[in-house]
Each structure stands twice: as structure tokens, then as C-alpha cells.
Amino acid sequence: MKSANSALNVKRFFIYIFMVLLVLIAIVPIYLLLINATRTNAQINAGISLIPGTNAAYNWHALTSRSFQITQGFFNSAYLAVMMTLFGVYFSAMTAYGLHVYTFKGKRALWGAILIIMMLPSSLSFIGFYQFVAKLHLLNNYIPLIVPTIASAGTVLFLRQYLQSVLSMELVDAARIDGAGEFRTFNTIILPIITPAVAAQSIFSFVGSWNNFLTPFVLISNTKKYTLPMLVQMLRGDIYRTEYGGIYLGIAVSLVPIIIFYAFMSRFIISGITMGGVKE
């Protein structure tokens, strides 16, 4: 028994070392990013340090003085993410509710279509989508980024599964007997009930649009409308070649809000991943 125990302890010891190693691999790139964002070029060139520098203000100036509108980009990203989340989640909840509560012609076909769309890679419609948006003269406009989120198949699937597990039809019937209209029932009774699932989907949708790069990169060419990932992408350019601190700071601006948010919400986010099962 004793030897079995010590064998277990040895195993545990090596597993802990492995876990510490993986935690370091996850954290070190981010830590180096934050440290180097606050250091001067000379310090960055001199070697790795674990202590922050005091050069953040200069780096910020170096970053923003070259008509690099990162504050604007931050608000553009935030605006888009909020709009895409609101549209995506609200209309998905509506669709999920419609599919769950009512019986109508074409309901099965629609459900089948939703399951198929989920499997289709987004690149398949990309060229056609771009040409279509160009024809509508909606390039450099946020509309083609926001409106398509109304048809988010994954969110509908997730919310419908949640509705199936929590919603009893008695509640809907009771609301009807009390004379509430169908939309009112949905807005005032159903939405509050499915709040946990809506919140989980909102987070993933928000983070997804915050991180979205390819679609806005292709559709938007006016730098005033650039989102953060598009601005960060510009840091590859020659004018920043020698401003290492500025480059690190620019990258940090897009990553730090997510990390802070995640630090508070990690438990909820992790339980949300398996709540609906499916996530790219």
C-alpha cells in the first residue's frame, strides 16, 4: 500500500511539473508582451526582462503619432461587437423560440437548413458575398458586417436546445390566457428565462466579433472605420520597424481587454463552452 502511494506521489509530482510548464507556455508570451509594451527600444534590444519598464507613455506616443488611430479603432471594434452581439443573439433567440413553440409549414425544412449551414465553411460564400456587397455599394459600411449576424445558425441551435430543456409550454399558455401578445410573451417572459444561455452566447459572439479579421479586412478600406485587428495588422509595416515598444503596446491594446474580461468571467465562460457543445 505504501509503495503504491509513493508511486502515486511520484506520478503526481511529474504531472504537476508538466502542468506548471503548460501554464508558463500559456502565460509567458502574454507577459513578455505586457513587459515589452512598457520598455524602451534599447531595453528591449538589451534582453529579456521580467520587470516592467517606465516607457509606456512614450510608446503610446510613438504608436499614435503616425496617424494610427487606435482609440478610434478601439471604439469601432467595441461598437461593432456590441451591435453584432445584440442583433445576433436577439434574433437567434427569436428564431429559436419560433422553432420551439410554434408548428408551421416549412419548420422542419428550416431546422434542417440550420443544421446544414452550421457545417458549411464561411469561405464558401465569401467571394459571392464580397461581390454582392460591392454591388449594393455597401463596401466601407458596417451594415454588411452587422446585418448577417441575424442569421447565426450556431446560436439558434444552442438556444433552441436550451429552450427545450428549460421552457414548459404551461408558462406560454398562462401568458396567453392573461392576454399577453406573442411578442410581449417572448420579450418579457421567455428572454428572462433563457438569460443564462443568452449571456453565454453573447460572450462568445462578442469575443468572436471583436476578434473577427478577414471579413472587415476585405470590406472596409477607410482607415477611420478600421477595427483593432485591422489596425494591429498595420504594425507589420515599415514605419513601425524600429518602434518595438510601440508595436507591443498596439498588440496589447487589442488583447488586454479580453484578458481582463476573462479573468472575471472564466468560470462562466468555461461552463458555457460545454453548455451547448458546439463551438468551432
Binding site: 503526481r12 504531472i15 504537476y16 503548460l22 501554464v23 500559456a26 508570451p29 515589452n36 434574433f91 419560433g98 422553432l99 413553440v101 410554434y102 408548428t103 419548420k107 428550416l110 449551414i117 458549411l120 465553411p121 469561405s123 464558401l124 460564400s125 465569401f126 467571394i127 459571392g128 458575398f129 464580397y130 461581390q131 454582392f132 454588411p144 441575424i150 442569421a151 409550454m169 404551461e170 406560454v172 399558455d173 390566457i177 406573442e182 469575443v207 476578434n211 479579421f213 478577414l214 476585405v218 485587428p229 485591422m230 494591429v232 504594425l235 507589420r236 518595438y244 498588440i251 487589442s254 488583447l255 479580453i258 476573462y262 472564466s266 465562460i269 468555461i270 463552452i273 460545454t274 463551438k279
Partner: protein, 324 residues
């Protein structure tokens, strides 16, 4: 299942149309139509700044099948995906089994899971730029660590003389591909751990109990219960990872020169599609053919995976069910 609503049922059910209408309209306009439009464009010669086009039959597809750059890009995508996927599944399997092991009683499980999942939420575009800086030449932090802390140098030859210098990672095909695969692994294995742990939690405890009563040790329960029961979940992870991997774009696009340097060897299929459509000749029609080609390859591979792996997992399920 669904209870009958009282009275004028059809009238109420008609509301269903209003609830799904926005979805259907937007889906038709921004999803289905562009998909058909992509298919149509693939049979035309639309390129450059023109708006008019002629139908050109199968020209684009004939070109696609014999385009070595296309197959090169497909190959790059697979190599990078494979280098990321197999370590990802292996490490995630080990950890999810250890973290779920009741005998090991590991501490800080929640913290560990939260930390290794974190990269998954980060902006891929920014992550690419971050690693571009970290692996920079000659003075990026990775080179500083290798050269100054560990004393490891790249031995190059200049004018017939051996010299020790910093690693120029993005000049080397294997290293650059390795870095892309590493970033993908870094961003996704935490997610895989969470999926596998959910799979392990859903395995009935009575299976383990009866195995332990029969004298099975932990290696045997892992080998004969956990792994076979996780098969469907692993299959799901394999297929979704493959579909997602075929769409890999942000990181290989931004890590080097947006064209898959060095020597186009990290140019994935979607980066190639982008290069064709939005750079150089703006060959939209050919890019549309590329996206259809990628789609077909993805479907065929998914079917192959299901064909080879699904059957056996069904057999296993039946077998386990039988002994219960």
C-alpha cells in the same frame, strides 16, 4: 411532446412565421444567395476592376486541378494542421484523464484549465503579430533567450567561414510551419481539454465501479473504459478541427508576408484564395473556384473520417452496452 394550445391554434401558430422571418430573410440574402453567386462566379472570367463577365465553362476548375500552387497550399494546410492536431489531441487526452482521475486528486484544476484555455479567446490577428515579434530576427525575445541565456546559436556560413548568429526563424520552412502549428496548438488545446473532460464526466460512474470490483487498475480502466467511451467525442473533435483547420487564415496570413513566406510554404488554401481575389490580378472567379475546391476536399475528408472511424465506435458502444 408539445401540448395543444387551447382554441384557435392555427391562428397562434401563424406567429411562428413572424418569429423566424428575420432569420430566413437574412439567411436567403446574405448567406444562400452569396453561396450560389460564388458557385456561379466560379464558371465565369470575372477579374480585375471589371464588373462584367463572360461564362467560361469549366476553365477555372480545369486550371484548379492542375494548379500546383493550389495543391501546394492544400498540402501546407494539412501539414500545419497535422503538426498542431496530433500533439493537441495527445496532450489534451493525457491532461483530461489526469485531471479527471479521482485517485490523483490534483489541486488547482480549475485554475489550470482556465489559464490554458485563455489563448483561445485572444484575437488571432494580434497573436500572429505578437509571435512575429517574439520570434523576430535578430533581436526578438526568443533569439535573446536562445543566444544569451542558453548560448544556442544558428551556425551559418559566410564567405566560407563558420559564424554563430541568431536564428532567422521566418527564413526556414520547417521552423515557420512549426511556429504556425505551435500557435494553433497554443490557442486550441485548452478547448480540447474542456471538451474531453466533459466527455469523461458523462461516462457512467458505474462502469468504473464494476471494473474496479473486477480488479481493474487505473491503466486498465483508462485503456478499456475511458478511451473507447471517448471515441465519439474524439471523432467530433477531429472533424471540427479538420474543418476549422482547412479555414486557417489569420495566423499564416499575418505571421510573415501575407503570401505564405518562406517560399509560399505557410500559404494555406484560404490565404491562397485571398491572394487570388484581393491582391495582384483580383481574379475573383478563380478565387471562387478555389473556395469550392476547398469545400469539396473538406466534405470528402469528413466523409472518409466518418466512414473509417464511425463504424468501429458503434461496435464498441454496442459491446460496452452488452456487458452492462
Amino acid at each position: 411532446m408539445k401540448q395543444k394550445t387551447i382554441g384557435n391554434e392555427t391562428r397562434i401558430n401563424r406567429w411562428g412565421y413572424f418569429f423566424v422571418l428575420p432569420f430566413v430573410l437574412v439567411f436567403l440574402l446574405f448567406n444562400l444567395y452569396p453561396t450560389f453567386y460564388t458557385f456561379m462566379l466560379a464558371f465565369t472570367d470575372l477579374r480585375g476592376l471589371r464588373v462584367d463577365f463572360k461564362f467560361s465553362g469549366l476553365d477555372n476548375f480545369v486550371k484548379l486541378v492542375s494548379d500546383q500552387y493550389f495543391w501546394g497550399a492544400v498540402g501546407n494546410t494539412f501539414i500545419i494542421w497535422g503538426w498542431n492536431f496530433f500533439p493537441q489531441l495527445g496532450i489534451a487526452l493525457l491532461l483530461s484523464i489526469w485531471l479527471s482521475d479521482i485517485r490523483l486528486k490534483l489541486k488547482c484544476k480549475g485554475f489550470f484549465r482556465a489559464v490554458v484555455y485563455m489563448p483561445n479567446l485572444l484575437t488571432a490577428a494580434s497573436v500572429a503579430l505578437l509571435f512575429r515579434s517574439l520570434f523576430g530576427y535578430p533581436g526578438g525575445p526568443v533569439n535573446q533567450f536562445l543566444n544569451e541565456t542558453l548560448g544556442i546559436y544558428h551556425t551559418g556560413v559566410i564567405d566560407g567561414q563558420q559564424v554563430q548568429q541568431a536564428f532567422n526563424f521566418f527564413r526556414d520552412v520547417t521552423m515557420t510551419r512549426g511556429i504556425v502549428a505551435f500557435i494553433q496548438w497554443w490557442m486550441w488545446y485548452g478547448n480540447t481539454i474542456i471538451m474531453l473532460m466533459a466527455g469523461i464526466t458523462s461516462i457512467s460512474a458505474s462502469l468504473y465501479e464494476s471494473a474496479v470490483v473486477d480488479g481493474a487498475n487505473s491503466r486498465q480502466t483508462t485503456w478499456y473504459i475511458t478511451l473507447p467511451m471517448l471515441r465519439p467525442m474524439m471523432l467530433y473533435i477531429l472533424v471540427t478541427s479538420m474543418i476549422g483547420g482547412m479555414q486557417m487564415f489569420d495566423i499564416p496570413f499575418l505571421l510573415t508576408d501575407m503570401r505564405g513566406a518562406p517560399d509560399f510554404k505557410i500559404r494555406t488554401s484560404i490565404v491562397y484564395m485571398y491572394n487570388m481575389a484581393f491582391q495582384g490580378r483580383n481574379d475573383y472567379a478563380y478565387a471562387a473556384a478555389i473556395s469550392i475546391g476547398v469545400f469539396l476536399i473538406t466534405i470528402i475528408l469528413s466523409l472518409i473520417i466518418f466512414f473509417f472511424l464511425q463504424d468501429r465506435s458503434d461496435l464498441k458502444k454496442k459491446h460496452v452496452g452488452g456487458t452492462k
